[in-house]
């Protein structure tokens, strides 16, 4: 029997002090890397790096990735890993859009978006309602759509100016990716960049300030908790896929306009490129973590890194190496800071 009179009070020796560096890293996240890249760029090319045209070029280069990343962030946030059908959603939207140019420009844009949304609806229903595995289903769906698109257009790519007899409509379509805003005030900001920024803002508002965003966070963190809390999980996941598809469709239309062709290979590589940007931005495949501000930082990092390496004249082979090392470093520092602060 313990003697209560001899009880000694044991002191809690566990440290309560947080590593200040890790707190900063965790708060600023990917923007530490963005800042480092900006400093590096300025050191390499002090006369040319911080020019409007160079920064504009970086933003323009990542605008399509950024538009897609906004949508994909909802998928990652909901713990559905990645949308492997992203390439065909982009390609299909672009091809439908180009095909419908034979009627008129507005119908072409609406048709392209509708085509993407149709794919999103199928994904959302099968993954949200039927609970199919998101990776396996979306990969299979990508193959199915790949076959359909090849069959429908007999393996050919389609050119806007041969689809429509009206040359002005084709020119209008080409101009989509080549429209610049702010010329009157001496700026030439590409429409694609503006669309990307607007979508990031909208994405941030939806993810952070709406009940849908909160529900998505709960589902992403623990699906069963969400379900038992009365959340209509199927509906929430369905909406997440529709948002993702909308973003991919917009990207697909811009991409078809930029490359002046509707082709089944147009979206190749976007699935991994976008998920890289999303993960660099602090989201995790486990879901429920991160935010849209971080994703924007991830997109910026991809663009700035390429820009700095090009300015340095680093050959392609070495660029792959540097990219890999930098991305590993970012993932490590994200994980490490979260672990040290007890957030993971």
């Amino acid at each position: 029997m313990p003697n209560s009179t001899n009880t000694t009070v044991r002191k809690d020796t566990r440290t309560q002090e947080m590593n200040k560096f890790m707190v900063i890293v965790n708060r600023l996240g990917i923007y530490v890397v963005v800042a480092l890249l900006l400093i590096a760029g300025q050191c390499i090319r002090p006369d040319k790096f911080f020019t409007f045209s160079n920064i504009n070029s970086v933003l323009q280069a990542v605008s399509l990735t950024g538009i897609c990343a906004v949508g994909l962030a909802f998928i990652v946030y909901s713990a559905n890993f990645n949308d492997m059908s992203l390439p065909m959603t982009i390609a299909f939207s672009g091809m439908v859009s180009v095909q419908l140019l034979q009627y008129n420009f507005v119908l072409s844009i609406l048709g392209g978006i509708a085509a993407g949304l149709l794919m999103g609806a199928v994904n959302g229903f099968v993954i949200g309602k039927l609970r199919a595995h998101p990776i396996i289903w979306s990969m299979a769906f990508n193959f199915v759509m790949s076959g359909i698109v090849r069959w429908a257009w007999a393996g050919n790519q389609i050119y806007p100016d041969t689809i429509t007899e009206n040359a002005a409509t084709a020119e209008q379509f080409y101009a989509l990716a080549r429209t610049y805003l702010g010329k009157s005030i001496g700026l030439q900001i590409p429409l694609m960049v503006v669309v990307m920024l607007v979508m990031f803002v909208i994405g941030h508002v939806i993810l952070t300030y709406t009940s849908f965003g909160n529900q998505l966070k709960i589902i992403g963190s623990n699906y069963d908790v969400g379900r038992l809390s009365g959340i209509n999980c199927a509906r929430v996941v369905f909406i997440a896929y529709m948002i993702n598809a909308l973003c991919a469709a917009i990207c697909g239309i811009f991409l078809a306009s930029l490359s002046k062709v509707g082709a089944y290979y147009n979206g190749e590589g976007y699935d991994f490129e976008c998920v890289t940007a999303v993960l660099l931005g602090g989201m995790t495949l486990a879901g429920g973590k991160g935010n849209m501000v971080g994703v924007f930082g991830g997109v910026l990092t991809v663009g700035l890194l390429t820009n700095v390496m090009n300015l340095l004249g680093i050959p392609t082979f070495n660029q792959y190496l540097v990219q890999g090392v930098v991305f590993l470093f970012i993932v490590w520092i994200n994980t490490n800071s979260a672990r040290k602060l007890g957030k993971s």
């Binding site: 020019t51 160079n54 070029s57 323009q60 280069a61 790949s146 007999a154 002046k260 290979y265």
Partner: protein
């Protein structure tokens, strides 16, 4: 709502199943032609060539029908002029030479120079091509391949050959399976575009050991693979790039700086379309300096960023850009140049897609090279037909290089792909 979604899903599945079967169309001679085909299922296309009859008379064996008047989609002769190249003397140790010296790439540019034909190669039946059955196994799906398949079908129709086309969609393992499938069918010949040069040796050897005559097309393989094929036909990628480089050097007055957007690293096109012009310029115009070369792939936005960065970095030093592709790479290049207001930069590109030709016509690009996909296919079929006929075929024959510039671009419309 759920019912509508379920209905759409079912419709898509139905469509995909139909896609695996391919789309049936009827060709001019009344035969069934499948186009497109699902790649993943190893899309199969076939043409019943049927007997070629002119004026009610069947073409006699030993005499090929007149193929000189058959035209490709772009109104050029379907069967291109072919060139048999002489191999220059091989340097003792190519590796010891610098990358800017042509000799360094000798084994790649002149692959097949030391090929000794296998003694197991089948002998020609000598009874003509009519009624023969052949398999064509391409490398993968691409609009170029669709045009190539069109060329195969047209050429086979010309000679009355029945053809089955298989596509492995860039998958070596699937291509190996398709080779087995073709061997099991015991056709009269197989034309193969290997997915990559390394696997080609095993593939051609397997076909030859099965007693089936093998013919190589398009992709230049190694000498080891050439031993097991009757003949190879295809574009002279190195030669064309050299000619394109000379055009560029002349326009630059043999001075200035040039940057290269390369093909995907590692493939034969990567070496031919970067080191072809570089080694040529080193000899023809040594004052032209290579500023940089990058491989951003075939994404217009990525290519645009690279070119914009070059313009930022090199400024007036950058006088010309050489693109390994005349589609996405060219679009990115031209957009970046126009955005920077640097229309003084000369642009040259390999390939002849509609995009490239439109840029040449608009004056944005100085010159591209003619690379007929249909002609490439027709050259292979013609070689097979001649071999069936008992004629001697050269072990290697290249399509004669043709340049497309502002003066002649109109004669290459409508484009093949």
């Amino acid at each position: 709502m759920k019912r509508i979604v379920a209905l759409l899903l079912a419709l898509m599945m139905l469509l995909s199943m139909a896609a695996c079967g391919g789309q049936e169309t009827t060709s001019e001679n009344g035969s069934n032609t499948q186009e497109g085909g699902s790649t993943n299922a190893g899309g199969e296309t076939s043409t019943e060539g049927g007997a070629t009859e002119e004026g009610g008379e069947t073409t006699p064996a030993g005499e090929l029908p007149d193929y000189s008047t058959v035209m490709s989609t772009d109104n050029q002769p379907l069967f291109p002029e072919m060139v048999i190249k002489d191999f220059p003397e091989r340097p003792e140790d190519p590796e010891a030479l610098g990358e800017d010296e042509a000799g360094h790439w000798y084994d790649m540019e002149h692959a097949g120079w030391d090929a000794v034909k296998s003694s197991n190669l089948p002998t020609s039946p000598g009874d003509g091509p009519e009624g023969k059955e052949i398999y064509v196994i391409v490398h993968g799906d691409h609009p170029w391949t669709t045009a190539y398949t069109n060329g195969i079908n047209k050429a086979c129709e010309t000679f009355g050959i029945d053809v089955t086309v298989l596509s492995p969609n860039w998958d070596v393992n699937l291509q190996n399976q398709q080779i087995d499938q073709a061997i099991n069918a015991q056709p009269d010949a197989i034309i193969l575009i290997p997915v990559n040069a390394e696997s080609a040796v095993q593939q051609f050897r397997k076909i030859t050991e099965a007693g089936i005559p093998a013919f190589g097309s398009n992709l230049l393989t190694t000498s080891a693979a050439m031993e097991y094929m009757i003949a190879w036909t295809g574009p002279d990628d190195w030669g064309q790039m050299r000619e394109l480089a000379r055009e560029m050097a002349d326009a630059m007055n043999k001075e200035g700086g040039v940057c290269y957007l390369t093909h995907n690293p590692g493939g034969s096109a990567y070496f031919a379309r970067m080191y072809g012009p570089r080694t040529e310029l080193a000899e023809y115009a040594p004052n032209i300096k290579t500023l940089d070369f990058q491989s951003p792939g075939f994404d217009a936005a990525a290519c645009k960023q690279v070119v914009s960065d070059w313009i930022t970095k090199y400024g007036d030093e950058l006088n010309a850009i050489f693109c390994a592709d005349d589609s996405a790479q060219l679009i990115g290049t031209i957009d970046a140049i126009k955005e920077a207001g640097r229309e003084d930069i000369l642009v040259y590109a390999a390939g002849n897609s509609k995009t490239g030709q439109d840029y040449v016509k608009a004056g944005d690009v100085e010159c591209i090279n003619y690379q007929s996909a249909e002609g490439d296919a027709a050259a292979a079929v013609l070689t097979v037909a001649k071999w069936f006929n008992g004629e001697e075929v050269p072990p290697m024959a290249y399509m004669a290089p043709v340049m497309i510039n502002a003066e002649n671009v109109d004669s290459f419309y409508p484009c093949q792909w």
